[in-house]
Structure formats: structure tokens, C-alpha cells
Subunit: 229 residues, 2 copies
């Protein structure tokens, strides 16, 4: 009969191993990866990675599906991604002066996906631009899309009414750990990210959550959103 503090400690211990943290961080875009791939990410042998993955699945942070002889691992729920993102914010807010981070993180800082929406400089700049044009109200804890904002996104083919039946909230802030300011999450954020991928404004990098902004993207973000990045 564990107390809640004990369960908190157990969960934290699960995230506390550098290898497992790398694995979780890698999976935070919501996509699935094979055990072998994750072993490379964590920088350990497949045996060790398997042991880590087993623990993560056992404690319901990950779920696994078999695809032929390989096994695909992904985050169990969006809530897990949300909490990890929150922890990163606290981790980065913490011991000041240890910034800036490594080169690996530079790309992440510039533009990345945060589960299903955009984060980093790009994500925050887009949110700022939408806010500046009165398309969006967004602070640390609450977010709302204005009529004009809904119309603006609609003019780019984002019809948020069609997904109105979903339980997910339309528009919410998500604290960006690299920029320390909120960016746009919720269905609106996901739709915006999807639009950017579809129009080839951004491309997923083969590994990691960071995304590359294409030349077309730079143009589009400047001309459509007034974002010079």
C-alpha cells in the first residue's frame, strides 16, 4: 500500500535515469520507435534498453505494440507528454546560470514539436504574432481564439468546427521550456502544426523532436504571420 509520496518517488525514479530520460524525450513527439532505435538514442546496448523499456511499460509511461519481429514503443498517453514538458520547464527554470545548453539542444530551441503542436522560438513567435493581431488571447494559464482568429485560420483551410465533437480543448497555452513563455496548444495548435507540415513549411528531422524550417516556411511565416525568424 504505497503512499502518494512513495508513488511520486517511484515515478520520478523512472524518469531519473539518463538513458530513460533520453528515450522519453525522444518519444515526446508522440511517434513510435523500435527498441533498437531507442537503444541507440539512449546510448546503451539493446539488452540494457530492453530492461529500461520494460520498466517504462510496466509503470504505464509507455505502451508497446508488436510489428512483426520488432516492437514499437510510444508514450502511453498525451498526459505523459504534458507532464514531461512541464518537468522540463521546471528543470530549465531551476538552477540559473547553467544556460545555454548544448548544441544538440540548439535545434530544439529553434523549432520542435511538443507532442502535436509547435514549440521553440517558432512556436512562441507564431503565438505572439497571432496575439498581436488580436487573433488570440493567451497567457500562462488560459487561452482563447477570437472570432477573427478563427476566421484567419479558416482562411488557411483550418476548419476547427469539424473537430468540435472531440473532447480536446480548442485552444490552450503550453509553457515553452526553452522560451519560458507560452505557445499555442490544443486543437488549434495541432491544426496549425499540421498545416505547416502539409505545406512543407517545416520538416521533421530524422531523429529527435526538432523540426527544420524550409525556405518556403521562412517566406510563409513572414508573409502570412509577420514572423521573421
Amino acid at each position: 500500500m504505497p503512499t502518494i509520496a512513495r508513488e511520486l518517488a517511484d515515478l520520478a525514479a523512472l524518469i531519473a535515469d539518463p538513458g530513460r530520460a533520453l528515450i522519453l524525450s525522444r518519444l515526446m513527439d508522440g511517434r513510435a520507435q523500435t527498441a533498437g532505435e531507442l537503444a541507440l538514442v539512449a546510448g546503451v546496448t539493446p539488452q540494457t534498453a530492453s530492461w529500461h523499456l520494460g520498466r517504462l511499460v510496466q509503470h504505464a509511461l509507455l505502451k508497446v505494440e508488436r510489428r512483426g519481429p520488432r516492437r514499437l514503443y510510444r508514450l502511453a498517453t498525451p498526459l505523459v507528454a504534458q507532464i514531461l514538458e512541464g518537468m522540463m520547464t521546471v528543470a530549465v527554470t531551476g538552477p540559473l546560470g547553467s544556460r545555454p545548453s548544448s548544441r544538440i539542444d540548439a535545434a530544439m530551441r529553434r523549432a520542435r514539436t511538443c507532442y502535436d503542436h509547435l514549440a521553440g522560438e517558432l512556436g512562441v513567435a507564431l503565438a505572439d504574432a497571432l496575439r498581436e493581431r488580436d487573433y488570440l488571447v493567451l497567457d500562462q494559464e488560459v487561452g482563447e481564439l477570437t472570432e477573427a482568429g478563427t476566421a484567419f485560420l479558416g482562411s488557411h483551410g483550418i476548419d476547427l468546427r469539424t473537430t468540435a465533437r472531440h473532447r480536446r480543448v480548442l485552444c490552450r497555452p503550453c509553457l515553452d521550456w526553452s522560451e519560458r513563455r507560452p505557445h499555442l496548444a490544443g486543437r488549434a495548435g495541432a491544426a496549425l502544426a499540421e498545416l505547416a507540415f502539409q505545406r512543407d513549411w517545416i520538416r521533421r528531422r530524422p531523429q529527435g523532436r526538432s523540426v527544420e524550417i524550409t525556405d518556403a516556411g521562412l517566406d510563409a511565416f513572414r508573409s502570412l504571420f509577420g514572423v521573421c525568424i
Copy 2:
């Protein structure tokens, strides 16, 4: 130059020790405690507790103030409490079947403070009652107080306009780890909790975050909110 995954792991390692988790859990009501008191909570000697507290302060999870010969420790920011609460939700959502928890947690489950607002059965029941009377709109991600709700709280002496200058959001949901449903947070939630303490509907227990519901409280919650608890 640590990567973000490394910082995530370091933060998690900080929370992963059972003693430190007990200390953090104890401080989640926002109040300060002495080092000696926290040593008792963690079940370790003062030396060991001091070592733990030093690490927590160093990594900016706690802040310390000297009061005479003793030192008072408290959570560094509300964000820390919010993240810990979120982690508890994931921890409890995780390996199902290990419920229910120990007796220590039974009191917490019934009624407790979540930093500055009410949680547990009581917190969720109050939120449900407010929602049922169309005083409140609240789901997992977004919350809003209706005109009628503002008037209702106003009729009990809660004037939310007077604190309108504050940066904190008026009304937001907070996922309750024991009930697995949202309760009321934000300024409105804090004001409601404050009201309950002032009218002696609830009392803080000497140790821990759980609160005791008084007989007057039982009456008040039933007659004013229709909450039978």
C-alpha cells in the same frame, strides 16, 4: 552543457528519493517548515535531511529563509507545486490495480489543499456542484466562471474583482490525482478555500496537507452547495 533530457533526468532524480518526495509532498500546501520538522516527515536524521534540503534548494525546487536559529523551507514557486501535482496524477494513473492506497492517504483522498485550493473528494464535489448549478464550466483543460457563479461567490463575500490586478488566472481546472477528475483552481479556487478556512468549515491538520471537515462544514457544504459528503 547539459541537454534537456539530462536536466529532466537530474530533476527527476531529485524527486526520486523517498525522503525528498515526502518532504516535497509535505510542502505542497505552500507553507514553510523547519529543517527539523522535515527530517521527521522524511523519517531520517537531521543530518540526512539537511543534505536532502541542500540539494533541493540548490536545484531551486525549494527556497529557504532563516528565522532565528532555525531555517524555514518552502516550495520555490507555485509552478513546482503544479508540476508535482501533475506527476502525482500520472503516478496514480499508472500501474492500475495497486489501488487503494494506505490509511495515511485516506485522509488526503477525502479532503486536502492543493497549494492554495481544495482537492480530494471535497474539492471535486464542490466543483461538480458549482458546475451543476451553471456557476462554472470546467473540463480537463479549461475553466470559466459564469456571471451567476461570480454573483454566487460574491454573495458569500468573495469579491474576485478586488484581486483582478493580480496576474493569476481567475479560474482554471486542476487534475485531481485521487479523484482523477478536475477540481477548481486559480484565484476562484483559492478564494473558495480561504472562505472555508475562515468560516471554520475545514481545518488544517497539524501535519500533512489533508484537512478536516468540521460539522459546521458538513452543514454548510450541504445547505449552500448541495454537497453531501
